[in-house]
Assembly symmetry: D2
Homo-oligomer: 401 residues x 4
Amino acid sequence: MSQGRVGIWFIGVRGGVATTTILGLVALRRGLIGTSGLVSALPKFAELGLREWSDWVVGGHEIRSTTLRDEAMQLADTSRAVDRDLVRQIADDLDQIDANVRPGVLVNVGNTIEKLADDSLRQVVETPAEAGARIQSDLKAFAAEHDLERVIVVNVASTEPAPDLSGLPSTWNELKPRLADAACPISASSIYAIAALDLAFPFVNFTPSPGSNHPAIEDLAAQRKTCHMGHDGKTGETLLKSALAPMFAARNLEIMSWVGHNIFGNLDGVVLNDPENKSTKVKSKDRLLGEILGYNPQTHISIEYIKSLGDWKTAWDHIHFRGFLGTPMIMTFTWQGCDSILAAPLVLDLVRFTERAARDGEVGLLTWLASFFKSPLGVAENDFVRQVQMLEERWSDDASE
Amino acid sequence: MSQGRVGIWFIGVRGGVATTTILGLVALRRGLIGTSGLVSALPKFAELGLREWSDWVVGGHEIRSTTLRDEAMQLADTSRAVDRDLVRQIADDLDQIDANVRPGVLVNVGNTIEKLADDSLRQVVETPAEAGARIQSDLKAFAAEHDLERVIVVNVASTEPAPDLSGLPSTWNELKPRLADAACPISASSIYAIAALDLAFPFVNFTPSPGSNHPAIEDLAAQRKTCHMGHDGKTGETLLKSALAPMFAARNLEIMSWVGHNIFGNLDGVVLNDPENKSTKVKSKDRLLGEILGYNPQTHISIEYIKSLGDWKTAWDHIHFRGFLGTPMIMTFTWQGCDSILAAPLVLDLVRFTERAARDGEVGLLTWLASFFKSPLGVAENDFVRQVQMLEERWSDDASE
Amino acid sequence: MSQGRVGIWFIGVRGGVATTTILGLVALRRGLIGTSGLVSALPKFAELGLREWSDWVVGGHEIRSTTLRDEAMQLADTSRAVDRDLVRQIADDLDQIDANVRPGVLVNVGNTIEKLADDSLRQVVETPAEAGARIQSDLKAFAAEHDLERVIVVNVASTEPAPDLSGLPSTWNELKPRLADAACPISASSIYAIAALDLAFPFVNFTPSPGSNHPAIEDLAAQRKTCHMGHDGKTGETLLKSALAPMFAARNLEIMSWVGHNIFGNLDGVVLNDPENKSTKVKSKDRLLGEILGYNPQTHISIEYIKSLGDWKTAWDHIHFRGFLGTPMIMTFTWQGCDSILAAPLVLDLVRFTERAARDGEVGLLTWLASFFKSPLGVAENDFVRQVQMLEERWSDDASE
Amino acid sequence: MSQGRVGIWFIGVRGGVATTTILGLVALRRGLIGTSGLVSALPKFAELGLREWSDWVVGGHEIRSTTLRDEAMQLADTSRAVDRDLVRQIADDLDQIDANVRPGVLVNVGNTIEKLADDSLRQVVETPAEAGARIQSDLKAFAAEHDLERVIVVNVASTEPAPDLSGLPSTWNELKPRLADAACPISASSIYAIAALDLAFPFVNFTPSPGSNHPAIEDLAAQRKTCHMGHDGKTGETLLKSALAPMFAARNLEIMSWVGHNIFGNLDGVVLNDPENKSTKVKSKDRLLGEILGYNPQTHISIEYIKSLGDWKTAWDHIHFRGFLGTPMIMTFTWQGCDSILAAPLVLDLVRFTERAARDGEVGLLTWLASFFKSPLGVAENDFVRQVQMLEERWSDDASE
């Protein structure tokens, strides 16, 4: 089947996750790397007709003034996670993608994120509606310039402080006029989501920011007959929780306390050092345990910025549980993972699966993508293996066709 | 539904696992402890009609001269896993059970196990057939004396060296006459299995010893229309492997090496310090990884006897894996579990589920008990959650009836 | 040499540390336990003429209404650190010691500690001078009743919030009149120190509270020709820091970051959950690294109350360091120690060494006790082994006499 | 003081340790790296008059046919420990040093090492005396060609199986004629030591191979008035043991068991996978614990070759100890160090200090270098800090002059 080209549009296109994703996409296209870490490259999805690496055109929004080449080289230098020689090999491709980058939106992103932004951008004053219009204009121009069949918009920008959206209406028709009000509490991630969905472009939220997680925005997606999913990519400690907690539950081993300490030193860490932004994140990480276990053990989650670690997020978890005869026992684990390296392939998986579902005409929340998210929207299942089964089952017919 | 009483017959009835199981069973009967660690006590199995704790009568074979009371007190003293006051409270019950203990069989168990045995027992010379007849006589007397509807025989004795059974025939009718030959290589665990199954008593093998794992013995079970399952209870490190390896597989994270070091200091450890016995065990622990992943990473498993640890089996696993862009990452975990405490509730679960299946008339291997075993007989599935689903599905209709 | 009896007077006599110390002292006296954990029982101090276990009479101040017997049994029940049978064996001795307990002082101890106190005690309103007079009356009565040659006062009470003592004068003659002022910011630990030193009773501060750490109180000790030392017993994570950091320094391995997470669930943990009290503690734990290394790496110390752990303080430390060619490397350690069990023998060591020094007529800070403290007063040396050498050298002549 | 140039002669010059040492030496000379990891670069040794990096000329013996440039690039590729760009920058220097490399000796090195050797070298049949003469000729040519004041010979070759030297005489005059016998059991490391010392060139043994550790060879060093030291560089797990065990000893905490598991995947690992070679190493690692503690706890040391780890030697140690009231407690640590990176600066330190001592006219074992070795010859002190004090004290006068 001959197909046209498709676009990925990153919110936060020069951040660590997007940069690594782009680096990997280009390297895959050029045959420089293998498919380790890519769920969508597993043999069981081989017959699905997912897009080839060469089908994708990349663009995005960014609030900082830097270049993909510089960001990629910095990842190589500070984190030892990316090979400097690989960056050199594909630097020209990175420069080309840089040409597709447009200035991002700072509406209600909070002080810590604002401080990272380019000066000129911090001067801009715009209502949510104005910002949304600007985004849509960027997206349409990108699609037109590259003659794209479809654009998947993915949010990989820094975590926003949680806005108070309780006063907002629950339908799109009521919400829309409110966006013209400068005092509307809606934040950038949701403005991007609205802009994308309104153009019938699927939206994927890889961060714990609100994004499309609001009834009125879900309503918009339904009206435009497009799909979306979120939120917060499940890359490390929470992934392990969703694999391990079901084991304790299935064995009736009572978890008395589960303590998780996370340390890392990338830009995300700087942002999460702000207690407001951190609270959004911790809430996302802490929820699933009670849902899997059916009771709420004492938990403690810390996230600390330790500069020397760069992109290497190290988690230490201490699980104190009680077995037969009430005997207390202990499991601890240490996870030394490179955050961007873990996230990037999942982002590629998500855009590929989402593009495939959009091609199928699927509308609304893509709940079968639950295994990719810490807090999968519309999904109560938190057992990782059962979430993976949801993915397999969604495509079991298509693959066998 | 009014029911008669049923029996548990332990092979190795005064070993750490059996002693802890008995301690727990009596304590449950008396309402002294909760149901932590018992899978069969989970709400989802509440409607299954599993036997009450008070329905069970306990007996068994043993090769050492000791008492349950002494063994229980020693567990309390050396391992801090069992409460000394609890042992005191139920010491009289333990003494009563001791009255149901009969001398075990040493045929082909190897030097290390023989050395543990009572002197008088080491004088006994018997063919497999003679040993089997003795066992059956013990089992029948036990069932008769206590007026038992059914007896479940469970092997929790020390791991035997692997016998070479390749020369044996594959049907029961051919095997039977061979048992009269003193040179028959069949070892104690299989003699017990044959003795039990031949009486139509279900047999559960909680150890890596051969037990019923031979075509001719499976044939016997089919002929007698009874059921059996094994082998090697999945209590600690391997349980974690079966919960974690599927996560790496589902995420396409390539495991380069998985190293597991196990240290512990109980009687099992003394026996496993003999390389012949250890090899049986390591084989059982090492198999599942390749089956889950679809390729064979470098693995190393060590099991070392460290006296000071007593029954606290500590495992340290180092998992070296490769993610996107070929980036190597590391997960390590430490498991500090008390071996008998982890095993005992599973033994109770197995006898309860097996008794229930026997009541149902199920014949042959109980493959839906896979989640309880390191090497589930007749089962290719090694993903723990999917094994748990096999258990749930087996009883999903019954429970909803 | 025939000697009279001597006293230990505990501030916080029914807390976890004092209870365990008393339990151990009685058990040593009765020959029920060995001398593991006791520095003063090492062969190198055998000739020093330290007091026998039977020489000591115990009393103390306490703010909670409970009994030593109950506290000891609770330690046994919740922490599995103390043997219940041992508590039963010596319960009568504990009751006798309870007769020597007097109501403690709540002046400026902060809300969190006040909440733990007996209601009647919380009604008491007294100036520091009045509280001090009450303490001295208790101490004198204790010494008289038991005909004691000397009493060593040891503070093992909960950590107070740091008071602001900057406005206080630096000599005893100036400070003394200020104690009659109800607004004087001095807190209980210092009032105890003053009361003791003023009677020429040596004072040891095992906690990070101020105690005798003030020029005016040091002046008092000098005037009364008695000795004192502090502060904050070095039992776990900090002990390891003082053993490991010198290794990194000696090898010129640059520490980039040192992260320490501490979790535990005893009463001390409840108190340290109050940020004001915690800050006193963290400051004491964080200081030594810079002093050993000669530069200040990024550090992070967390102390979290995790109820299920009871008295088992678990520390996880992550040390990120740079070696040759700037290569980053990692050491992590886990310390699973029982806090009271680690502290108790050090308390006995301190009172024995302090009593010995007092017998020698030593006056002022006992700086050669540095190895016992996180923040040894008047000592710049933080290398544990070099601190141990200070102890050895202090007594090298006496031992060889 | 104007000084001539000096030489370092490596046994095993293209192995991981020598290659990294050379890389670092060149990079230091060119100002491309800092002095992290170099003990001799600490301020306290600044006034000692140690040689500048530019003073050293490098040569060595090697049994494999490869190049320094290739070995360096492979370290960069497989271990992520060395920067590929750094190797490129100094590749020309590496080529120049390659010109000073001569074929090594295979006498009694065992099968595993022989297999690594160049084919042509494996054809050579020579007695120890002939091999020694060949080595001396190489050393003299090197010294002459570069006009060197002195050459320090350092053994960093793979660990040999332990030869049985019990039948050899204990004086040089008696040993010398025996070297002409092809059946003489002396192995390569000792032949190198003899060759060097006989020329009055100091010899340093960084490996657990015998080297100069024999009375007759010590006699030779004394006769030639030169110095030597060994053996087995203390880089990782044993370094930690010598820092931690004294802490347990000083606190009278009884170590019940100390288990150490080491995994790594470099060439050294291949060699140590041979049980004969491994036994030499384990003996060297296991000795010090009993010497520090004064009693022998149960120990277990494993060293396993895990290919994926490359040069990253990961050690997990589990320390089970008993404190007050006999309470068992646990410390574990994980050490993730790059073996060559840890060893290389110590090699530079050793040659600098040894050259300085030789300049001073010191003769015999340089016992004050104990802190650098797992098994310091002629030294009973195993406490790391006290060993460091020996180094400081040796030079305290010189530094202060």
